[in-house]
């Protein structure tokens, strides 16, 4: 039986699973929105770094940076996030949350040029906006008693998000490997060696051992690490082809992020953990609508 992404999009899903995804993602996005990073940016950065571009129009960017507009956007986002979390007025709250997240993360990106939550959650929130994620585990479902949709309506959002999760990692592998002339050069480990040295004093390895994990002038460990990184990131493509290897693929991705965190860059471990909720396999696929009497 075909198990690729396109085939899976049409299969029945679980309203409870989709609702759980909504809750877990909203909880994570809440931690992102209440991060003190925006207020720190306000204090230390006079103007955005010019390394990154954004689709947010310059006028909107200027408006966000003026006065305390970005704080207001964040506050609206937090309120929408709390509503999404409990599932109240979800159909209104989710688009507001998506817009607030999109804008605040654009602001963060322009000043910090850091790639983390926004790579994943702009798409996840867009999909949640378009889906019936509040048909279970929500106040909306309790108060309004909206009839359940066809079971496929609870599956495609989850599968689309899994597809995106895989795309993020396959794209990362593509950026390392292509163009192939650069990819072959990248595989000699120089990039990872620089990373290990550059973040040495930031790394938990240094806090704990007060020394490098191994001699960072050796090249072969970084060659191995580069190859392993490419294999792990490329293996995410399996999520497009089948759901059979969810556990090993996700475990490999988590291990990769734990390794990166040990060498100094935290942040991705929790994103990968939170995204793992997509790969749960609820036994109770949504029941079919009751036949007409």
């Amino acid at each position: 039986m075909r198990d690729h992404l396109l085939a899976r999009l049409s299969r029945p899903g679980s309203a409870t699973h989709l609702a759980l995804v909504r809750i877990v993602f909203a909880a994570h996005v809440l931690t992102v929105l209440v991060s003190p990073s925006i207020s720190v940016i306000r204090r230390v950065a006079g103007q955005p770094l010019l390394l990154g571009q954004t689709l947010v129009p310059p006028g909107v960017e200027r408006w966000m940076a003026a006065g305390d507009h970005i704080e207001w956007i964040t506050a609206v986002g937090v309120a929408a996030c709390l509503l999404t979390l409990v599932g109240l007025f979800t159909r209104v709250a989710l688009p507001i949350l998506a817009v607030a997240f999109f804008l605040t993360q654009s602001f963060y990106y322009r000043y910090a040029v850091f790639h983390d939550d926004w790579l994943y959650f702009n798409f996840f929130l867009l999909v949640l906006c378009c889906s019936r994620s509040a048909d279970a585990l929500s106040l909306d479902a309790r108060l309004r008693r909206r009839p359940r949709a066809a079971p496929e309506q609870y599956r495609w959002p989850v599968e689309l998000m899994i597809g995106w999760l895989a795309l993020v990692y396959v794209a990362a592998a593509t950026a390392k490997l292509f163009p192939l002339r650069k990819g072959l050069v990248w595989l000699d480990g120089g990039a990872l060696q620089h990373f290990a040295v550059h973040f040495y004093f930031d790394s938990p390895i240094y806090w704990v051992l007060h020394r490098p994990l191994f001699d960072y002038s050796l090249q072969w460990p970084f060659v191995l690490a580069s190859a392993a990184t490419l294999v792990v990131e490329s293996s995410a493509a399996l999520l497009w082809l089948t759901r059979r290897f969810d556990a090993p693929v996700m475990l490999a991705i988590l291990t990769l992020h734990v390794g990166i965190a040990c060498f100094g860059i935290p942040g991705f471990v929790q994103i990968a953990l939170v995204s793992s909720v997509l790969l749960l396999r609820p036994r109770d696929a949504a029941p079919a609508p009751a036949p007409a009497a």
Partner: protein
């Protein structure tokens, strides 16, 4: 009349224990059902194609896609290629690669037709389908061209072509806190494990690290750690055992 997509899948479940998605009786259901899937229709040409030939065709297409990606990813000069010179592409290689695009271009119309049929049959509401497809296509374009315009990214972190380091020592920047002989990495400040009283998360710590060359971070660091002025220094350490052999102030 074929059933709608919502009518098709009612018997399906997906199991936590077995990990199998879809119904256990899906194959028998497929045999019994009076309609055909789009995939079955796609291959409905009356001929039986050997399995190895199917795989050979897939492999060939994959290689052509690799060729196309190699060309598109080098179409726009990227910062990540700059630190290290990569071997140039010879005109002959470029010509061969461009010629190899032709079969892919020839396959494109039929592939697009098949993709459109599948896309139109998805059980996703039209507006959602258009929004999601637009977002994904734009992301794919950014990946193919290695262009980054928020919220689209080629996810090129740590993809720089950098030369390997040689020699027994290396240098990295860190703060030196008043009265503390040890270097203090700002990302350590943002970690739950090594926070030393910092009330910041890793995202805020990253911002501080990025702007650590600027005196504007001083009030924030002082506020978080107390005490006097933290100095930004460049520490040279032995890569074998981590012993710091030199330190010089940056500002």
């Amino acid at each position: 009349m074929p059933p709608t997509t919502s009518e098709r899948g009612h018997g399906d479940t997906y199991s936590l224990r077995t990990g199998a998605c879809g119904s256990s009786d899906a194959d028998s259901a497929a045999r019994a059902r009076p309609w055909r899937t789009l995939e079955e229709n796609d291959h409905d040409d009356g001929a039986v194609v050997p399995r190895w030939l199917v795989w050979l065709r897939r492999l060939a297409i994959a290689l052509l896609v690799v060729d196309a990606l190699d060309l598109t990813t080098s179409a726009i000069p990227a910062l990540i290629d700059q630190p290290r010179a990569v071997p140039p592409r010879s005109p002959a290689a470029l010509l061969v690669q461009l010629v190899l695009l032709l079969p892919l271009v020839a396959l494109l119309p039929s592939a697009l037709r098949a993709a459109w049929r599948r896309f139109a049959a998805l059980p996703i509401p039209v507006v959602a389908r258009a929004l999601v497809a637009g977002f994904v296509l734009l992301e794919l374009a950014h990946v193919a061209l290695r262009a980054e315009i928020y919220p689209f990214s080629p996810i090129a972190m740590f993809s720089n072509a950098l030369p390997p380091r040689r020699g027994p020592t290396a240098a990295a920047r860190a703060l030196r806190l008043p009265g503390d002989p040890e270097p203090f990495g700002l990302l350590r400040a943002g970690s739950e494990l090594g926070s030393r009283g910092f009330d910041l998360d890793y995202k805020a710590a990253w911002v501080l690290r990025l702007y650590e060359g600027s005196p504007t971070i001083d009030p924030v660091v002082r506020e978080q750690l107390g005490g006097g002025h933290a100095r930004l220094e460049r520490f040279t350490f032995r890569t074998a055992d981590g012993r710091i052999v030199a330190a010089s102030p940056i500002r």
